[in-house]
């Protein structure tokens, strides 16, 4: 227990952040803002990993390393997604998902 903050408080914060990300993913129609919602979701999961590591298994480092790997995967995902978004913009001159409805063939 870290200076009298129960573990549940951290979990409440990360839960709210996760579902706010889902709300953004459902309502947004712009590819970049949808990507930002995904980043929110990944970030809240990271908080969960780290908090579980610190409170429940303080003698190990599994959550810590797992969040480092999640951050690396998020960076990869952002790079590839932004490449795809720029390519879509070049072809359709918009990044609104409802206007991008045709594939190559």
């Amino acid at each position: 227990m870290i200076s009298n903050i129960p573990i549940h408080y951290f979990l409440v914060v990360s839960t709210i952040m996760f579902f706010v990300g889902i709300y953004g993913f459902l309502t947004r129609r712009n590819l970049i803002t949808m990507l930002m919602s995904v980043e929110l979701i990944l970030n809240s999961v990271n908080i969960n990993f780290v908090v579980f590591n610190r409170y429940l298994y303080p003698d190990g480092l599994h959550g810590h390393f797992f969040s480092i790997f999640v951050i690396a995967v998020a960076a990869c995902e952002a790079a590839v997604a932004i490449a795809i978004i720029i390519n879509i913009y070049r072809r359709f001159t918009t990044i609104n998902v409802e206007d991008v409805s045709e594939m190559k063939y």
Partner: protein, 172 residues
């Protein structure tokens, strides 16, 4: 009710996280949404500092706040006009999404708050750079060399993939 310094810090960080993540998904100007996301990520790094994971907080600041946000802002500048505002979300869609999300929050929070987590009183392991480096490259029990190598291949693949996707192809 008296708060200690750490509790006060936690309250500030969590308030920033909640408020700015809501603003991130509701703001109608895309550049502002990106900056709000930056605030959320920075206060997450603050929470990592509070939990005494300095290296993870540094990674969070450098990679997320420094790297991904800059990438997102660049792509915003390439793909949209700064002054452009999104049109309002249809009320039907936003109401139904909000109902689904609030139901999800309620279900998850009742599950979480009713669970008795067993606090572990084992000796806290100090996280220093030496230990992190050794663990990342050790193949003994509790070593992480396999995910480390897999991540390096993933990084290489995504780097090549990003270049191939974004480079100008022949006109179609």
């Amino acid at each position: 009710m008296e708060f200690t310094g750490t509790q006060l810090m936690f309250i500030i960080f969590s308030a920033i996280i909640v408020i700015f993540s809501i603003l991130t998904v509701t703001s109608r100007r895309i550049l502002r949404a990106a900056i709000y996301l930056l605030f959320v990520l920075i206060s997450t790094a603050g929470i990592y500092f509070m939990l005494n994971y300095q290296f993870l907080a540094a990674v969070q600041l450098g990679l997320y706040a420094g790297g991904i946000i800059v990438l997102i802002i660049f792509s915003i500048l390439l793909t949209s006009h700064i002054s452009q505002k999104f049109e309002k979300v249809e009320w039907k869609k936003s109401v139904f999404s909000a109902i689904a999300v609030i139901a999800g929050i309620i279900v998850t929070l009742t599950a979480v708050l009713n669970y008795q987590f067993e606090a572990n009183n084992a000796i806290t392991q100090e996280v220093d750079m030496n230990l992190i480096g050794t663990k990342l490259l050790s193949y003994d029990r509790g070593g992480y060399v396999l995910p480390f190598e897999v991540i390096s291949i993933l990084l290489l693949a995504s780097m090549i993939g990003a270049i191939v996707i974004a480079k100008k192809g022949k006109k179609v």
